[in-house]
């Protein structure tokens, strides 16, 4: 069976794995911190090294000297031109107009494709994860920002200029919190990891009792979303309230997506899924309260099943669609 290498380039880590074309396994999973500070060429070199390491480990695992490798699928952040294979803009990497596909293809000697990382995470969950069998799938990746992907009838939906599914920058409160993008009231301004932490810190600064300060040596600047989830798990009332509010904000945004796209699956990936049912139960309630009943009834809202590898599987699936027309 032919193999495809999947590369998930993130602002923090690069994750690479080798997948048989039927998606039945993930061999040679390797990862390194993204050397952002060393510039685009260093990042590309690191990606190529990881591809070679992944193939090396796959050969050992399978006990084969020669592998039949069809190519490399890459998922990368930022608006991307999927046709030319160029990353147009990736603020977290400091990149502009980086011809990433051609770099990877030239250095590996393999065919390569490029798509957006959040698209790939959604596509991976559709192919091998929690959104399997969905015909109309919405994916939200909630981490430092809120990215998204839309999968319709087994294909990534790209829109007119490859920038569809920017769910994080949809407005849920036209006069609300300032977002890093310059607007007011974006979903991301409430529910991304850093903004979950920020809302907790605001509550703590009002002097409310909580176990959170003790968890960070009383240095509130060290509070992260993970601190909040851990405190909520331990029953901390303030942390539970922050998680419930997060669920409400996400519920408003997702109700909008449900009323617009009438999906059969909404799959949520990223750190926020650590909050578990404490998040998902009130989130589903808020969506049910706000969206149309026939749309709510048709849709399941689930956490991703492939933490850390959805983007790799999705990059492989995107390669298959770009090169062979279907997954």
């Amino acid at each position: 069976m032919r193999l495809i290498v999947g590369v998930d380039l993130g602002g923090t880590n690069i994750v690479v794995g080798t997948v048989p074309e039927d998606g039945s396994a993930l061999y040679g999973r390797v990862s390194e911190p993204t050397p952002v500070a060393d510039g685009p060429e260093a990042v590309a070199r690191c990606m190529v090294e990881l591809v070679e390491r992944s193939l090396h480990e796959t050969r050992r695992t399978l006990g084969q000297r020669q592998l039949d490798v069809a190519g490399v699928g890459v998922g990368a952040p930022g608006p991307i031109d999927t046709t030319s294979g160029v990353v147009l803009l990736a603020p977290n990497l400091g990149w502009q107009n980086m011809p990433l596909r051609q770099r990877i293809a030239a250095a590996t000697g393999l065919d390569a494709t490029l798509d957006n990382d959040a698209n790939c995470a959604t596509f991976g969950e559709w192919w091998r994860g929690a959104a399997r069998d969905g015909r109309t799938v919405i994916g939200l990746t909630i981490g430092t920002g809120i990215g998204g992907g839309i999968v319709l009838d087994g294909r990534i939906y790209h829109g007119a200029s490859d920038v569809a599914a920017e769910f994080g920058h949809t407005t849920i409160d036209a006069t609300g919190r300032r977002c890093a993008c310059g607007n007011y009231g974006c979903l991301e301004a409430y529910a991304s990891g850093p903004n979950i932490a920020k809302r907790a810190i605001e509550e703590l600064e009002s002097g409310r009792p909580s176990s959170i300060p003790g968890r960070v040596g009383h240095d509130l600047q060290r509070v992260t979303a993970q601190t909040v989830y851990a405190a909520a798990s331990a029953g901390d009332e303030l942390a539970l309230e922050v998680v419930r509010d997060t669920a409400k904000f996400l519920g408003v945004g997702i109700a909008n997506f449900v009323n617009i796209l009438n999906p059969d699956v909404v799959v949520i990936t990223g750190g926020v899924t650590q909050a578990g049912d404490r998040l998902f139960a009130p989130l589903r309630l808020e969506v049910a309260r706000r969206a149309f009943k026939p749309a709510v009834d048709a849709c399941r809202i689930v956490p991703g099943m492939l933490p850390g590898t959805a983007g790799v599987f999705g990059a492989v699936a995107a390669f298959k669609v770009q090169r062979w027309g279907a997954v």
Copy 2:
């Protein structure tokens, strides 16, 4: 050339016309007020009479005794099951589970199809109107409510359960104005015709000077959105402000749709287009301020070109897709 009859069933009027399969003309355009109070069967009978009148007039216009009629495409309000041809729920008509397609087919002896009216209006503007050549088209129909349609690659996008594109009930302000649907902050609660009038009345009740009261015999309950547009055309400051605010609210909602779907056309139909550039200029500005630049650059936001007949053309196009696989 084969002909298809298009029927646009609205809460106020039924409009019917006969269209050659290439969409090059509209013959026998006839219309009647919808006899809502007389019940579903009376409405269906009225639709059938209008189909027969339209075909009669078409025969006269074309000077032919016999027409080659392929069938009837119907657009009707409410969530619809396009497969079974049933109107599931239409509050404005007081209908529930009305097997409209079968009624029309049985009474006319013609093949019939059914789709949602706002879908049809968008599809009509794509086929023969302002959204021609769009690959990714969003339509908003702004009247008593705010309906919508999505056309992707020449087909109506229906979603998982036929209720996609409920743009009017997306939230733009989670803690905002109460909507008739029970939620808070829906786009419709700000920008539908009745809510445009309501916002004007609220301003007038604060005692601000305006020409509006004089236009309605000083009976503020008679103010409609049309009154506001007429006053704005005459330079009335309060009316102009209401139109500018409407543009902002619509801009927030449309920026969300643009960030989610990255369309190449947003086409707006219905009474609100009477406000012309006074509405469209600030609306486009608000979208440009809020949505991603590559998405804004890819998208034109235009008024519909087929007032009163977009739904008829769209119902015909929907017939073609359902029966022949493409327009």
